[in-house]
Symmetry: C2
Subunit: 528 residues, 2 copies
């Protein structure tokens, strides 16, 4: 089911050590947990048949209804330059008015030129990621205002925690890209925050990163930092998408100026736009999931079409983020049955348009309890079966996105790795069918210690990071640790084991020099 | 996707109360949590396309390999009467030897007469369950030696806890049947335990129940108690399966005497047999999942074929219970990626044979932490996508089946209800598409309080039992409760809200009289 190939092997363990290893002390287990997971999860593919919950006629109904919305209601486009470009492309623009309406033919013509797959290039080519098709790419949590770990409690985001979370994203191969600022470091002045953060992302990871579209200059700085980080020319970067931005519509039916500017700056340079309406059913979208999907689709199609008006063939993803609110409190809910339906239906829509599909690993839990796990696992279920290609907030997102959690990061890494293992092919070779082993053991025997078992047991099964499978008595003697306890220990071990990826000194100097110059210039205006 | 029809409505809430209800106190929420969920989950259907991880040729390879095992290696059949019946049917039986071999043609001929679907009849006809096809039926935890709740801790099973768990199974409609003794009440003497327990199952629930196949007399007593409970004749009961038994092979490749006797007693009377090999890869089955599936399939086909040798057309299910062990400790693991693969592949095998598929909701957690939730949710993911028809241990199973947990029972009920909601059809009517509402609100507005929202918000979304969606500050003021805390409170509320189902006094008298007579006779021998 996947391109997973080389299982990581611990050379210290040999089959003949089996008996000795049957009850390892905690130190052995911890050593294993702290080690880098190798390349097993660096590239993932999901070849499962996609689950579909919309019959073809329902899919068509949502499609047509969203086109009707764009044609008859239209969107508010809060940037004159964007309205000009839309008018040039054939949209219905009235001078002096923000409302823009789009003929359905225009929308369909525009989205047809969006590529169905593309590569995002990292400064380390081994970290390049393929977007679209059967590829499954995980990005860490982004944009949380708060950060938490059990020792320090919940606190406002800061650069130290920002860096730690970025290091964790680098440490685990199942995290394929960062995804924005994992936590907002408010101890850096907003005028220069993007310079420091993007510089950190280049230095502490060698993976693809994201830039916020919060004004043209931030986009331009990010583009330059990404170019410097890869050590390439402007022309090469224009051929090789190396930076991505998430564009959220201001639902319902509005695209704000900085977001539109972000599309213009990024798409015109062939960089990646992830067009994601945030359509909470019952709040900023109709209370019905079908209605929220109509609105999501209208907003997504409008944004995707605009990327193609800016530059035909520019790489873009269809982002789905429809969930429901708690109708008793108005609070957003995530990882719910309704969220699952929206994720799977969103995948059907994205495939209909041949555009890669961005999803998320969500939950609304306030702590690392069962709720955090079941809401996340329901999200992973839906995005796996629904054919998500790129998963933002894949690790560390909690409390509905308000908080980045160190412990949740580890829990998510474990769950993502389990999804990857589930998607890996089931070996059904003659050897795996084990007819000879069955003959040898026969009725009434057992398979512990047989040749067939000894030759395979080391890598036969996924060895989870957190699951505590000790028997109740042993677990009680150990102080009855929960998943939360294990995750708390493991994230610190991972930070200790973190290795900074090498960076050409010339590139580092150029980067530092650029950041220093831009800081000296005052960064960006912050009169917001 | 489901036959879910009537949403439960709380008549105390009206749309105009919306504002007042936006921040309910805990008492309101608790009242809602404690109430019986009505009939919304009484009948479930899963119309999702099944996920397949075995390509057709791999499915055929496993099928053929398992037939080769039965033909060349055979099974040890530890009951002379069973070997006689097998010999009569055409199996290769050598007088004085336990080993029996089966021609593949014989196996295929026998399983062809197993029905693809059937009804199990409860004493309350509204609780009848349809087995097979798209039907999804949940049974509670069974056979745990220990029981736990947070107040009382982990303790050996007893009748008081047995009764409480049975009451919880009755209370929630998403639990469609009981599934054996939820916990083994060791304070009842083994010679009469089945009489007291089965009598309790008739009195405290009106749902279908299970009997253990631990010797012929226990089966006969259970058959009589099921007949009395329904108030029907022996003949009617023979037309209407009203009792089920789980038959486990003693893997590898052995069927013990009491299990074989159970098949004979149950199948000959047209009652339901769930044939479930317990094939732990790396322990009692080959270390490869494909090899374990070969062995599972061989054992399942042997047992299913035997039911049809006893009585053509007798109702039987294909049980899948292949998981892996922790190769470091030998401990069984559940809800793992390997378990998911085995569950989905097992569904492909069961469908190949046209026999309803029994699965389980498993985990190996020692407490109600994130692990308990993610392992269970991975089990539910696999059995839903894999087409499980009947789910044993659906609620309350923890610690690899060693312990029945009151809190886990509630967590599972919530997760089962979320699966049911996920499987319910997505309304894509013109009304749900909400084009008029989108027109009315337009760009930049919101949907709180619109007519479209007010008309639907009460039942628009699933209202979870346990998920705590309060914001961090409110949740902190409330003492930062976890899922475990909520589940602890809810199970007690459910027990308080439990209502004993009515039972015809004549039936109760007949039941009591039968139990008293059988006790006076000494119950069953316990010289084991």
């Amino acid at each position: 089911m996947s391109e997973i190939t080389t299982p990581s092997v611990d050379p210290q363990k040999q089959p003949e050590d089996a008996a000795r290893h049957r009850r390892p002390g905690r130190r052995g287990a911890e050593r294993q947990r702290a080690r880098s997971p190798g390349s097993r999860y660096a590239k993932l593919a999901n070849t499962l048949a996609r689950t579909e919950i919309l019959p073809p006629e329902a899919l068509e109904d949502i499609h047509q209804a969203s086109l009707t919305v764009l044609e008859e209601v239209g969107m508010d486009i809060i940037l004159p330059e964007a309205r000009e470009r839309m008018k040039t492309a054939g949209a219905d623009v009235t001078p002096g008015e923000q409302r823009v309406r789009f003929d359905r033919g225009l929308i369909l013509e525009m989205i047809a030129s969006a590529p169905s797959s593309f590569t995002m290039f990292a400064r380390n080519p081994a970290r390049n990621v393929e977007i679209g098709g059967n590829n499954l790419v995980f990005a860490q949590v982004a944009s949380a205002p708060f950060v938490t770990d059990r020792d320090g409690g919940r606190r406002v985001g800061n650069r130290e925690d920002f860096r730690k979370l970025v290091k964790l994203a680098q440490h685990y191969d199942v995290i394929h890209t960062t995804g924005g600022y994992p936590v907002e470091p408010v101890d850096i002045h907003a005028s220069v925050r993007h310079l420091d953060c993007l510089s950190d992302l280049v230095k502490f990871t060698d993976k693809v990163f994201h830039c916020y579209s919060l004004g043209k200059q931030r986009n331009l700085d990010a583009l330059e930092i990404a170019r410097i980080g890869r050590g390439i020319s402007v022309e090469q970067m224009e051929r090789e998408p190396s930076l991505f931005t998430v564009i959220n519509s201001s639902s319902p039916l509005r695209l704000d100026g900085p977001m539109l500017q972000g599309i213009i700056e990024m798409s015109s340079r062939n960089q990646v736009v992830i067009m994601t309406p945030f359509t909470l059913a019952g709040a900023m979208a109709p209370v019905t999931i079908a209605g929220a999907l109509v609105q999501q689709n209208a907003e997504a199609l409008c944004g995707i079409a605009f990327t193609q008006m800016v530059r035909k063939g520019a790489p873009v993803m269809y982002g789905g983020f429809t969930s429901n609110v708690d109708m008793k409190t108005g609070a957003p809910a995530f990882g719910t049955p309704e969220y699952m339906k929206a994720v799977i239906a969103g995948g059907q829509l994205a495939r209909k348009y041949g555009v890669p599909y961005r999803t998320s690993n969500t939950n609304a839990a306030n702590t690392l309890d069962a709720q955090a796990a079941y809401e996340s696992m329901m999200s992973l279920w839906a995005l796996t079966q629904g054919g998500g290609n790129f998963v933002l907030h894949a690790a560390g997102w909690t409390e509905g996105g308000l908080t980045a959690s160190f412990e949740k990061f580890i829990l998510d890494v474990d769950m993502l790795q389990m999804v990857a293992e589930f998607l890996s092919p089931l070996d059904v070779s003659a050897d795996a069918l084990a007819l000879e082993a069955v003959r040898d053991v026969g009725p009434g025997g057992h398979y512990f210690g047989t040749a067939h078992t000894l030759a395979r047991y080391e890598n036969a099964f996924y060895s989870p990071i957190l699951s505590d499978w000790r028997n109740f008595e042993t677990w009680t003697e150990a102080g009855r640790p929960t998943t939360y306890d294990h995750a708390n220990r493991v994230f610190k071990q991972a930070l200790t084991a973190y290795e900074q990826p090498p960076l050409d000194p010339a590139i580092e100097e150029e980067l530092d020099s650029f950041v220093a110059r831009r800081k000296a210039e005052g960064g960006v205006p912050t009169d917001f």
